[in-house]
């Protein structure tokens, strides 16, 4: 009996949920907004699917419907990737420790 590869992917998925659970609980509450923007940016890794979709050409026509959806998804995901990481960076740069004397 061979194990379906799906089960391996499913195992990765479940283990990642646990990793996510423990990692996110350790995020300090004051950084919850950057957490949302960065998770938003990394979930745009969906762009890999969009790139494959856009580059697939079975008939030689690079503007088939499926390619066009791929291109559209690339634009959306790219907005998110750049927007998400840069805005996170901008926010994180604002978090500073006390510099001056305490009182």
């Amino acid at each position: 009996m061979e194990i379906d590869p799906f089960i391996f992917r499913f195992s990765i998925f479940i283990l990642s949920i646990f990793v996510g659970y423990y990692v996110v609980w350790s995020v300090t509450p004051s950084l919850h907004t950057p957490l949302m923007s960065v998770t938003n940016a990394i979930s745009s890794v969906i762009i890999v699917g969009a790139i494959i979709a856009a580059l697939a050409s079975s008939s030689g026509n690079i503007f088939e419907t499926s390619n066009i959806f791929g291109f559209l998804a690339i634009v959306l995901a790219a907005v998110n990737i750049f927007g998400g990481f840069l805005v996170t960076q901008r926010m994180l740069q604002m978090y500073k420790k006390k510099k001056k004397d305490k009182k």
Binding site: F13, S26, I42, I46
Partner: protein, 465 residues
């Protein structure tokens, strides 16, 4: 062209870098490095994807073009957006992830050969289910986030929109999604696929319209979670580890944030989702008609009180964000510190419109993060504090949450500002907060109400110190 095994390893690496990106957020010092890991992970994932495609057609030019266009738009938004608009921005970004997931699923459905999923009309069953789930969750994320965006932006009223039989309609639509997926799997018919996506868009709208403004922190976190599950669904379809790991991370992150937000309001997740909280209906009922005496003051009185205090705790809320008063507030605190007054900030978990909203605004105003405290860390200090300066917060300070079991906010953890020797409330009027509950603190002997725009009042106080 690199082998499938090698690319899988690289996807795993980028997945791990994403985990490190989140891990970095455990403290502000490591957070910037974390963000860098995230960027690195993304670069690896995208590069590897290009390398796995065997014959790069001219389409690659278009891919790069669209990548640059999207990137430029994203970068422009990221630099231009004011920090006060962060909740809308995040909601807007979630909608894009959702829509991208839908588009990728459509593309995979139309051209399954490209993803090794079979041929049109004969797609592998498991892949079909996975892409349907990805598309459905993506569509719900998209339309739900759009509604959340419109509400946060103020284009749409923040009050809940409810109608009779709403939950029943949602339930029927929800079930119909599963029925459609079932028929899609048995017939492989395109029409089922499209109708399933259409209904998912509708569900997203119906799910968010009944939820009121004050519950937005939960909604945003929830949509954050959905966008993750959508990505994971697509990850299964594409058999891509990076996507599966990321989807699971984002999904659980959003779920935890929703949980924290619900806990901050002492409400169950379901009562938030079912909506209808904080509407006009509750506002009308709860208001007591008898006029109770209120002490109100001006900036001079407030400055006098603050100057003579030895310790002050600032309690910011959504009103501070609306008035953009964070910079003025910081100036006021600077002036107080010059007079040797100890000042700290107390942030309630649900202050503002998204998790951590107040912290970002204070950070923008150069408030050091080690002066800002969470509810549990500072709540005992109120009793030894002279003045609580409540700026734009209301429900999170209402003692009724502890005393009146009838109140809709009963049981919600609150900041104990009532224990301070005196309380200053900067507020535009006596109107109740989003929960529609009158705040009895307004009528206390030791409370001074400062009726004004938060920014203007704070600036006036600075002049008087």
């Amino acid at each position: 062209m690199i082998s499938a095994n090698l690319s899988a390893i690289f996807y795993l690496i980028s997945g791990i870098l994403f985990i490190l990106a989140l891990r970095g957020l455990s403290s502000p010092e490591t957070s910037r490095q974390g963000n860098f890991f995230g960027i690195l992970g993304m670069i690896i994932a995208i590069t590897v994807t290009f390398l796995t495609v065997d014959n790069l057609s001219t389409a690659i030019n278009y891919v790069l073009l669209f990548l640059v266009i999207g990137g430029a738009i994203g970068a422009f938004i990221a630099f231009k957006i004011p920090m006060t608009a962060m909740p809308e921005l995040v909601a807007g970004f979630h909608s894009l992830v959702g829509l991208a997931a839908v588009f990728v699923a459509i593309s995979a459905f139309l051209n399954p050969q490209a993803f090794n999923l079979g041929s049109p009309g004969d797609i592998k069953l498991a892949s079909l289910i996975e892409m349907s789930i990805g598309a459905a969750v993506g569509a719900i994320t998209f339309s739900g986030s759009i509604i959340a965006f419109l509400k946060l932006r103020g284009i749409m009223s923040g009050s809940p929109i409810t109608f009779i039989g709403q939950h029943f309609v949602n339930l029927v639509l929800g079930i119909s999604i599963f029925v459609l997926i079932y028929y899609l799997c048995t017939t492989q018919s395109e029409s089922f696929f499209w109708s399933m996506i259409a209904i998912s868009f509708l569900i997203g709208v119906l799910l968010i319209i009944p939820i009121g403004g004050a519950d937005m922190p939960v909604v945003i976190s929830m949509l954050n979670s959905y966008s993750g599950w959508a990505a994971a669904g697509i990850g299964f379809t594409l058999e891509n580890t990076a996507l599966i790991i990321t989807g699971a991370l984002v999904g659980s992150s959003g779920a935890i944030l929703s949980y924290i937000m619900c806990k901050g309001m002492n409400r169950s997740f379901f009562s938030v989702i079912l909506g209808g909280f904080g509407g006009d209906s509750t506002t009308g009922k709860e208001k007591k008609k008898d006029q109770k005496p209120v002490k109100s003051g001006n900036a001079e009185d407030a400055a006098f009180l603050l100057k003579n205090a030895s310790s002050v705790i600032i309690v910011p809320g959504y009103g501070m964000a609306v008035a953009q008063a964070q910079h003025a507030l910081r100036e006021m605190v600077d002036a107080l510190k010059k007079n040797d007054i100890k000042v700290s900030y107390a942030v309630h978990p649900v202050a503002g419109r998204m998790p951590g909203h107040m912290n970002v605004l204070l950070a923008e105003a150069n408030v050091p993060y080690d002066e800002v405290f969470e509810l549990d860390d500072i709540n005992n200090d109120f009793a030894n504090t002279d003045v609580a300066f409540v700026i734009g917060a209301n429900d999170v300070t209402n003692p009724v949450a502890k005393t009146d079991p009838q109140s809709p906010i009963y049981g919600m953890p609150i900041l104990d500002v009532e224990k301070c020797k005196s309380v200053l409330f900067v507020k535009r009027s006596l109107s109740p907060g989003y929960a529609g509950v009158d705040n009895e603190l307004f009528y206390r002997e030791n409370t001074l109400m400062l009726f004004a725009d938060a920014k203007k009042m704070t600036e006036d106080i600075v002049k008087n110190i």
